[in-house]
Amino acid sequence: MKEATLRQILVVTDGCSNAGMSPVAAAALAREQGITVNVIGVIDKGEMGEQGEKEIREIADAGGGLYDIVYPQQLAQTVQMLTRKAMTRTIHHVVNKELKEILGDSAMDVLAPEKRVQVAGMVDELGERSRLDVVMLVDTSGSMKPKLSAVQQAIHDFSISLRSRSGQSRMAVCSFPGKQKHLDVRIPWTDQVDQAHQLTSGLTMSGITPTGPAIVEAIALFEHVQLPAPLSDRYRAEAEDDDGSLRDHVF
């Protein structure tokens, strides 16, 4: 593990999906391709419906990630914490796998806690130095509207967290549902998000929440994934164009 890249999709939503394929299956597909899926449920007050919470939990489980349900004002902090914990987990799994090859099955169980403390220190350090690519997938269906300013704040805040890491980090922000596709790329891959960025401008408000299809399309944003031609045409080219113009902008 010299220059490993950790890849994550972070879904920010407030309810159940209601269109297209199952988001749980989509998350399983992402995980299959080395992408962890985390989910944050945002609620105004009271509780998220039982159904909504169940779906969120299942998406995170299938995607090998973590989930949390929070109020809008807790969002920024939760994004950072969930991302870091999910990174730790992924690295832990990899380290565990390597240890298993050396020590045989149930490697961590045969290691005394004192030894595992040393492993933990190593995992922590690897987490800090690894490359990290995160796609934030923001549900912008009608009911999310009042929470979008908090989401926008969280996006900016998250970019500060990423900038503070030692390892290279990039993020991209997408909203779903999109105008023509299931998602719109709002901020292409970048290592710095301008605070003035308006998430709310030019949004298509609708009652459709195609979480599953959006996750599948978000997978296409990760360059390491082999894509079927139609998806590849749709996203790769666009992503590269945007990347180019962004580079001009930054440097």
Binding site: R57, A60, L66, Y67, D68, I69, V70, Y71, Q74, A76, Q77, T78, Q80, M81, R84, K85, T88, R89, H92, D109, A112, P113, E114, R116, V117, Q118, V119, A120, G121, V123, D124, E125, E128, D157, I160, S161, R163, S164, R165, S166
Partner: protein, 307 residues
Amino acid sequence: MSSNKPAIPDLPLQFCGKWNQKSYRVLRELGRGANGAVYLAAQGGVRRAVKIGAEGMDLLMEVNVLKSVQQGRDVRVAPLVSDVDDLVINGRTFTFYAMEYLEGEQLDRYVKRMGTEWVPILMIQLLARLEILHRHGWVFGDLKPENVMVTHADKQVRLIDFGGVTKLGNAVRQFTEEYDRAAWQAGDRRADIAYDLFSLAVMAVRLSADPEVWKSRRQEPRQTGLLCDIIRNSDSLYPYRVSLVKAFHGKYASAGEMRSEMLAIVRERTTGHRGKQASDSAGKLVGGLFVASLLLLAGTLYYAWMM
């Protein structure tokens, strides 16, 4: 309201560690944080604080930090770890660790009971702790009243939750927005000495300010100008304004530097009355000297001009 799964397990009333075979009797729960729950327990006739969490790796990282901080032989900064072990609850293995139990009061409760004039003194104590931590290459990160305790026995300030402690130069592992430099738009989240000093300064303001004022201004966007406003209107904070503002802007190179400046102000204020009289007469003396030197200068010029 926040439900981070898998959930933090409840400790059984009586348990024994799998590896080290130390047995514990749980007395009561002390508190729950982001990473786990802390219980008060008795082990071999000694009271210990036992922490258990949902994610073993997170807990082990904390132990890793606690142990490296303890390698120094200085004044103790972190609670001593006495045991790290596993325990099976309902067929699942969880990791836990035990540390010395510090009997005391959370910082904000202590200030509430004792009065805000204690704040500068407590901050000065805290700065001494932080300086040691920094010297060993660590930044505390999640500095807030909930993570600081004043011990009953010797009225010493102690840091208690090490979940946010980060190696200098890395990204801060855990933070609370209210005390976070980035959330106040005053910098990033890279763990440096100034990050801790920033949190400390916000904490000083928060502890001294009228709780109503602090609460009412919470809705405003977080900018250090807001903090300066509160300082300007607070009699107890105003004398320390220079130190606090310097901390907001990352102007201190070390905790020790901030500490000695605050200490000087405390000394000046405790010797306040006498000091003021002395400086008044000194002022007169200086004033007199100044007039004398002006006359002398005028005389010289006049002389030179005449020549």
